[in-house]
């Protein structure tokens, strides 16, 4: 087995897992499309990374942070709904990115390229995935409680604003990492589809969140193995694997 292939497999396994786990929270909070929007908001950073040949995640993260900051700032200034502001920021980001994104790099930016990850990329991705997962696991029940009733959560001394900020930061990290695997266009699916499939399989929160983690990892592994056999890029194959599992899950949907 090629070392390069092994790196891709391990990176995909970890990023897919944490993205799935995060997705179970995002679907519960009805923020499923935020992953998609943020994936697009990261494009200017991805474009810079591809031009200057450094890790796309390092390019994506500051662009995401800037995007989230602008949405937050516009919300304070205008009081317009968050989804409208997200729409404005992410489309503007796409427009800016296409001003300088070289044509030959468009495909990598949009659907990712995990075949190029090296040892350090893999190593840092694993560490970041584990840390983000541990943080998410810690805040999981608090976020769910705050989502059920913010007042009840506050009475239970849950600092809702603080936890929401941590949660948003985790989204930014996972999106930045996931962009490397599935690109800006497909990142949303890496978060949503495994969690949606797990929801159909599960009867409780434990099965749901860990089911999403497993399906996320499994989809990435299947997609990357398929990429080794076929000529198609890995990103779409990963998303299609997740979609296939989602279709299978429909048969298991608990009444």
């Amino acid at each position: 087995m090629e070392v390069q292939f092994l790196y891709s497999l391990i990176t995909g396994f970890f990023i897919g897992g944490v993205a799935g786990y995060l997705g179970s929270l995002m679907i519960t909070k009805r923020m499923a499309l935020v992953g998609d929007a943020l994936g697009h908001a990261a494009l200017p950073g991805i474009a810079l990374a591809l031009i200057h040949e450094f890790n796309v995640s390092w390019g994506a993260f500051p662009a995401l942070a800037l995007g989230i900051f602008l949405i937050w700032l516009f919300e304070i200034k205008t009081k317009l709904p968050m989804e409208a502001l997200t729409g404005i920021v992410f489309t503007a980001s796409v427009a800016i990115a296409f001003l300088f994104l070289p044509e030959e790099k468009v495909s990598t930016a949009l659907i990712g390229d995990i075949s190029q990850v090296g040892f350090w990329d893999t190593f840092i991705s694993i560490i970041l995935c584990i840390i983000t997962w541990l943080i998410l696991r810690r805040i999981f029940s608090k976020i769910i409680l705050a989502n059920l009733s913010e007042n009840l959560a506050k009475v239970e001394h849950v600092e809702v604003e603080k936890y929401n900020f941590i949660y948003l930061s985790c989204i930014a990290i996972v999106v930045a990492l996931g962009i490397k695997v599935t690109g800006s266009l497909l990142m949303g699916a890496l978060v949503i589809t495994p969690a949606a499939a797990a929801r159909n399989f599960s009867r409780n929160l434990y099965q749901y969140s860990y089911g999403a983690l497993l399906i996320g990892s499994l989809s990435s592994v299947i997609g990357i193995i398929a990429f080794n056999f076929f000529v198609f890029p890995a990103g779409p194959l990963i998303i299609l694997s997740a979609f296939l599992i989602f279709l299978i899950s429909l048969g298991f949907k608990s009444k």
Partner: protein
């Protein structure tokens, strides 16, 4: 703050969205007392509870006894039936063990625990959900419980059972209760104090003194018999 008082409220004013909701409200509550808050719709009862919990800004003074542990049963609590959250997991948010969960479920008249705990929270009937929510508030033995219309959605027989077991539980555990309710009969008999409210304090005192047909007509704006 005087000894034996768990809560002291002085000249409380609350404004929401430019509208005065509560005006110049003062009352206090001793340890282990049950206070029932009455008033017509829009009187500011729920806002008062939330203000006491620190969820709304206010002017005036609200002073709780130091290190008091407060639980809350909100008026509205909706759970999507699609959310895969079991009743047991909902209780585990409070990091409690199975014995305590079972005890508090008994207090609200729920039997057949193992099956009930595995159910999804969102698939419970509205009555079962209210009971679960009250049990959830009781489970970590708070000093004070604030309940906002806790019996909405529960049938009359169920209400009596729940109130009876709750009052026994409260007396045994020495808990202080603040209860917002539309029910004048059963609830008020169990109370030590009644606060009748319509933005301002209308009446405040022992149930026997407050719950008279004349006073109720003033509170609710029409004749009501008990």
């Amino acid at each position: 703050m005087k000894n034996n008082l768990i809560l002291e409220v002085r000249n409380l004013n609350v404004e929401l969205g430019g509208e005065k909701i509560l005006e110049d409200l003062s009352f206090d509550l001793g340890n282990k007392e049950i206070l029932v808050i009455l008033g017509p719709n829009g009187a500011g009862k729920s806002v008062l509870l939330r203000t006491l919990l620190g969820l709304h800004s206010f002017t005036g003074q609200i002073q709780w006894q130091e290190n008091v542990h407060i639980a809350y049963v909100p008026e509205s609590f909706d759970v999507s039936p699609g959310l895969p959250l079991s009743v047991k997991e909902f209780f585990q948010f409070k990091k409690t063990d199975s014995q305590k969960i079972i005890k508090s479920l008994q207090c609200v008249g729920i039997m057949g625990f193992s099956k009930f705990l595995e159910k999804r929270l969102g698939t419970l009937s509205s009555g079962q959900l209210r009971r679960a929510l009250i049990a959830w508030a009781l489970v970590d033995k708070p000093d004070v419980i604030l309940l906002d219309e806790p019996m909405v959605g529960i049938d009359i027989h169920g209400r009596e059972t729940i109130y009876d077991s709750l009052v026994k539980f409260w007396q045994k555990k020495n808990q202080t209760i603040i209860l917002v309710s539309h029910e004048i009969g059963e609830v008020c008999k169990k109370a030590n104090k009644v606060l009748a409210l319509n933005k301002r304090k209308l009446f405040y005192g022992k149930p026997k003194e407050i719950i008279t047909p004349q006073n109720l007509a003033k509170i609710y704006g029409s004749t009501i018999s008990v």
